[in-house]
C-alpha cells in the first residue's frame, strides 16, 4: 500500500492540469492494464502557454534574471591587473596555459582540490536551500529556468500573451503569424548565440577574442563551441523547457528524497480555499453563515504556471516552486476583496494545524538546516584558510622505477628522481634543493646548474614549472631496511620559503 502512495498522489496532482505525467501514471495503474489497448510509450507534449503575471515573486525572478545573466554575459570583460606577463582578465580559464584565474586568485592544476571544495559548497548550498524552502534552486536560480523565462518573455513579446498566442496557433497560417514566429526564432537564436559567445569568452582574452570572432580569425574550436551552446540553449530553453525538469533533470528526484515536512513549499492553503466555488455562490453561502472557500476556481494559478501544473492538487514533480501562482492568486484575491496568500510558502503541517484551530509553526532553524550551514561554514573556512596560507612554490618527486637503484663502481648506491619544481610567483626564483633522511646523501642535478654551499640551485621561471633529473647518492645502509624515508626540500634562496616532498631511498636487497 505504501509503495503505491506516490503514484496516487502524483496522479491526483496532475489529473486536473492534464499534464503528461498524469498520463504516464495513469497508464501504470492496474485497471488500465488491458493488453489490447496498451497506449504508446511516448506521450506527445502539450504546449504550455504561461500567462504574464505581476507581483512580488515575479519581481524577484526578474531581478535574479537580470543579475545572474548580467554577471554571465559581462564577467569576461571585467579586467584585473596582475602584472606583466600575466593575463589581465578577471575570470579566465586558460586551458593551454593550465591556469584558472579568478580576480586575485590563481589556481594551478595541482590545486584542483579547490574545485572539490567548491562542489561541496555548491551541493550543501543546494541542500540548505531545499531544507529551508524546497525547490528554490529550480524556481529562481537554475539556468534552465532563467533562460526559459527569458525565452518565454520573448515569445510573449512576439506571439502575444497566453490567450492571443493560443488563439493564433489554433487559427490558420496567416502572414502575420508566420512573421511573428519568424521574429521569435530569430530573437531566440540571437540570445542563444550570445549565450554560446559569452561562454567561449571565459577561455580566452575576451576583447581579443571578440575582435577575432568578428573578423573570422578566431580558432575553429571557438566557433564550434558557440555553435554547440547556441544549439543547446535554443533547444533546451526554446523547445524543451519544462520537459527538462520533468524527464531529464535528476535534481527533482533527489530533492524529493532529501526534503522533509518542515521545508517551506509553494502550497495551496486548502483550509482556506475549499470548498471552492464562484464568487457569487461563495458570497451567498457566506451570507447565510455557511462556510465557503476563498478559491473561486478561476484557474489563474494554472494559466501562469510555466510547467502547466495545478498547485491546488498539492506538490508534484512538475512544480518548480517559482511562486508565480502566488502572484496570480494574490492579484485575484485583491480583486475580489479577500486576503492575499491563498497560495503561499507554507507547509502541510501548518494547514492541518489551522484546520485543527492551532497556530502555524515554522522551523527554519532545525537540526538539518543547522548541519548544512555548519558544513558550509566549515568547508568555507578550510578553503579560505588554505587559500590564504598556501605557498607560492611546490615540489613533486617521482622516483625512477626502472632501475630502482644503481650500484656505482665504488660500491655507493644511487637513486634517480624526476623532480618538478613549481614557481607560482610572477618573478624568477632560485631554489636550493636538498634532501634529508639519509645521512651523507649527496644531491646532484643533471644539467648545468649553479650551486650554493655545496647544494644544487635550480632556477625556475615566473609562473612556471621545471622538471629536473636529480641523483641522490649514499653509502652504507644505516637501517638495514631496503627503503629509507627521504625528504626533498626546495628552499627559495632569497625568502627561504620552502616546499617539501616525501619519497624513499631504495637500497639493494641484502
Amino acid at each position: 500500500m505504501q509503495a503505491a502512495a506516490p503514484t496516487r498522489r502524483l496522479t491526483d496532482a496532475c489529473k486536473d492540469s492534464g499534464c503528461s505525467l498524469y498520463r504516464i501514471a495513469e497508464r501504470a495503474t492496474p485497471e488500465n492494464d488491458d493488453p489490447g489497448s496498451e497506449p504508446p510509450l511516448y506521450v506527445a507534449r502539450e504546449k504550455i502557454y504561461p500567462q504574464r503575471v505581476r507581483g512580488t515573486y515575479r519581481r524577484a525572478k526578474w531581478i535574479i534574471l537580470f543579475v545572474t545573466l548580467g554577471i554571465y554575459y559581462a564577467l569576461p570583460f571585467v579586467r584585473w591587473h596582475r602584472g606583466a606577463g600575466a593575463p589581465g582578465q578577471a575570470v579566465l580559464i586558460d586551458l593551454p596555459g593550465r591556469r584558472f584565474y579568478f580576480f586575485f586568485i590563481e589556481i594551478w592544476p595541482q590545486e584542483v582540490y579547490y574545485l572539490t571544495g567548491l562542489l561541496i559548497l555548491a551541493a550543501m548550498a543546494l541542500f540548505l536551500m531545499n531544507a529551508v524552502a524546497g525547490r528554490v534552486w529550480c524556481g529562481y536560480l537554475c539556468p534552465q529556468t532563467v533562460w526559459t523565462d527569458l525565452f518565454q518573455t520573448i515569445e510573449r513579446w512576439t506571439e502575444g500573451d497566453r490567450r492571443e498566442h493560443e488563439r493564433r496557433n489554433a487559427g490558420p497560417w496567416t502572414a502575420e503569424r508566420v512573421a511573428r514566429l519568424g521574429v521569435k526564432h530569430v530573437l531566440w537564436l540571437m540570445v542563444a548565440w550570445w549565450t554560446g559567445g559569452a561562454w567561449v569568452l571565459y577561455f580566452a582574452d575576451a576583447p581579443t577574442l571578440v575582435a577575432s570572432l568578428a573578423t573570422f580569425e578566431a580558432p575553429l574550436v571557438a566557433y564550434a563551441w558557440i555553435g554547440i551552446l547556441t544549439f543547446t540553449t535554443y533547444t533546451l530553453a526554446g523547445h524543451m523547457r519544462e520537459q527538462v525538469c520533468l524527464y531529464m533533470c535528476p535534481w527533482p528526484r533527489i530533492q524529493a528524497a532529501l526534503t522533509d515536512e518542515w521545508a517551506l513549499n509553494v502550497t495551496y492553503r486548502y483550509d482556506r480555499g475549499e470548498p471552492r466555488g464562484s464568487v457569487k455562490k461563495n458570497e451567498a453561502l457566506r451570507a447565510r453563515g455557511i462556510p465557503a472557500g476563498d478559491c473561486i476556481d478561476c484557474r489563474q494559478c494554472v494559466a501562469v504556471c510555466p510547467t502547466g501544473v495545478d498547485i491546488r492538487n498539492g506538490l508534484s514533480l512538475g512544480c518548480i516552486q517559482c511562486g508565480l501562482c502566488i502572484d496570480a492568486c494574490d492579484a485575484v484575491m485583491a480583486k475580489i476583496g479577500r486576503p492575499p496568500r491563498l497560495i503561499a510558502y507554507d507547509t502541510d503541517i501548518n494547514i492541518k494545524r489551522r484546520l485543527d484551530g492551532l497556530k502555524p509553526i515554522y522551523r527554519i532553524v532545525r537540526g538539518r538546516t543547522a548541519l548544512y550551514a555548519a558544513i558550509i561554514a566549515a568547508v568555507g573556512v578550510i578553503m579560505l584558510y588554505t587559500l590564504a596560507t598556501r605557498g607560492h612554490e611546490g615540489i613533486n618527486v617521482i622516483h625512477d622505477r626502472n632501475p630502482l637503484y644503481v650500484r656505482l663502481s665504488n660500491g655507493d648506491i644511487r637513486n634517480a628522481f624526476s623532480v618538478h619544481l613549481l614557481n607560482k610567483a610572477l618573478e624568477e626564483r632560485r631554489f636550493i634543493l636538498a634532501v634529508e633522511g639519509v645521512p651523507g646523501a649527496a644531491v646532484q642535478v643533471i644539467g648545468d646548474n649553479e650551486s650554493e654551499a655545496g647544494e644544487p640551485v635550480v632556477a625556475v621561471g615566473p609562473d612556471q614549472t621545471r622538471e629536473v633529473r636529480v641523483l641522490v647518492t649514499a653509502r652504507g645502509n644505516p637501517t638495514g631496511s631496503i627503503n629509507t624515508p627521504l625528504t626533498f626540500r626546495a628552499a627559495d634562496t632569497k625568502s627561504g620559503e620552502a616546499a617539501v616532498a616525501d619519497d624513499y631511498f631504495r637500497w639493494p636487497a641484502p
Binding site: 632501475p403 656505482l408 663502481s409 641523483l471
Partner: protein, 294 residues
C-alpha cells in the same frame, strides 16, 4: 483461431500478425523501428559513397584508387613531415650545437631527453633494458662504469659506430680470448686466476686459494688488456676488474666460464640507422642517466 482477432491482431499480445502460420504457431509482426531501418539504408548509401571516394575494391593487379587518390601511406608521410616541421626549430638547434652545449641548456636538454626516450625504447631497450639497467653481458648505462668511455663524445662515438661491429670506425678489436677452450691455460690455472680476480675487488676467496700464483698467471695472460692492476683498458673495452660492477657476474663460476669460453660482447653501429640528431639526443640521454663523465 479463436484467439485471433478478425483484424489480424493477436489477442494475447495485442500485436499484429504477418498472417504466416507454421504448425499452428503464428508469426507476430514486430518490424524493426523505422529510425533503425532508415539509419541502415543511410549506411548503405554511405558505403557506396565511400567506395567512390576512397580506395576500396581489389582489382586483378591493382585496386580502385578512389576519386582523390587518397593513400594511407601518403597520409602518414604527410603526418611525419608535419611532425618534423613542428620539431624543426629545436631539432635544428640540437643538430648545430655541440653535445656539451645541449646538456648545459635546459630547453635543449629537455627536448633531447624527450626525443631520446622513445628512441631508446625502440632501439636500445632490447639489450640494455627499458630503464637502461642492462642485463648479464649488456652494460647498465645508469652506473659510472664504462667499457668504452663515459664522456659525451665517447658515448656518441660508441652509439654511432658500435663496438666490435661491422663498421670501419667501430670500437674494438676483438674480445677476450677463450683461455680454456683454446688451450692457452690449464684448467687449474684458470681456477687459480679466477680466485685472484675476485680478490682484486676485495671479494672473499676460497680458503687456501693460491693468490701469488694467480697474480703471476694474471700478469702473464690478463694484464695485457686489463692492465697490471686490473683497472681495465677502455681502448680495448677491457672491463675494470677492481670495482663493484660486474658485466657478467662476480661469482667464481661466472669468472671461470668467461676465462674458459672467452667474452666477445658486441654493439651494433647505429649511424646507418639513426640520423645524427637522434644519435646526439641519445648520447645526451644516456650521459644524463647518471653515470656520465665530464
Amino acid at each position: 483461431m479463436a484467439d485471433q482477432h478478425p483484424s489480424g491482431i493477436d489477442r494475447l499480445t495485442g500485436t499484429a500478425t504477418t498472417g504466416h502460420v507454421w504448425d499452428g504457431i503464428r508469426e507476430l509482426n514486430n518490424p524493426l523501428p523505422r529510425w533503425w531501418v532508415w539509419v541502415f539504408y543511410a549506411t548503405i548509401v554511405w558505403a557506396v559513397g565511400y567506395w567512390v571516394v576512397y580506395p576500396a575494391w581489389p582489382l586483378v593487379s591493382s585496386y580502385s584508387a578512389g576519386m582523390f587518390g587518397w593513400h594511407s601511406r601518403t597520409s602518414i608521410v604527410t603526418d611525419l613531415d608535419d611532425l618534423q616541421k613542428l620539431r624543426g626549430a629545436m631539432a635544428g638547434k640540437i643538430a648545430a650545437a655541440p653535445l656539451q652545449a645541449i646538456e648545459n641548456d635546459p630547453e635543449m636538454l629537455a627536448f633531447a631527453r624527450a626525443e631520446a626516450k622513445p628512441l631508446f625504447a625502440e632501439n636500445c631497450a632490447p639489450c640494455h633494458g627499458t630503464g637502461a639497467a642492462g642485463a648479464k653481458g649488456f652494460p647498465n648505462l645508469n652506473d659510472d662504469d664504462w667499457l668504452w668511455g663515459g664522456t659525451l663524445d665517447d658515448v656518441a662515438q660508441t652509439i654511432r659506430h658500435g663496438a666490435r661491429a661491422a663498421d670501419s670506425q667501430t670500437r674494438g678489436p676483438g674480445g677476450m680470448p677463450a683461455f680454456g677452450r683454446d688451450g692457452i691455460l690449464k684448467r687449474d690455472d684458470i681456477l687459480t686466476v679466477a680466485q685472484f680476480v675476485r680478490s682484486l675487488s676485495g671479494l672473499p676467496v676460497e680458503p687456501g686459494a693460491d693468490l701469488a700464483t694467480g697474480q703471476k698467471i694474471f700478469a702473464d695472460n690478463c694484464a695485457v688488456c686489463h692492465g697490471p692492476g686490473g683497472k681495465g683498458n677502455r681502448a680495448l673495452g677491457a672491463p675494470n676488474l677492481t670495482d663493484a660492477i660486474w658485466l657478467y657476474g662476480s661469482d667464481a663460476a661466472t669468472i671461470v666460464e668467461g676465462l674458459w669460453n672467452g667474452r666477445n660482447g658486441q654493439m651494433p653501429a647505429w649511424a646507418s640507422r639513426l640520423d645524427d640528431t637522434a644519435i646526439k639526443s641519445l648520447a645526451v640521454y644516456v650521459h644524463t642517466l647518471g653515470g656520465g663523465e665530464k
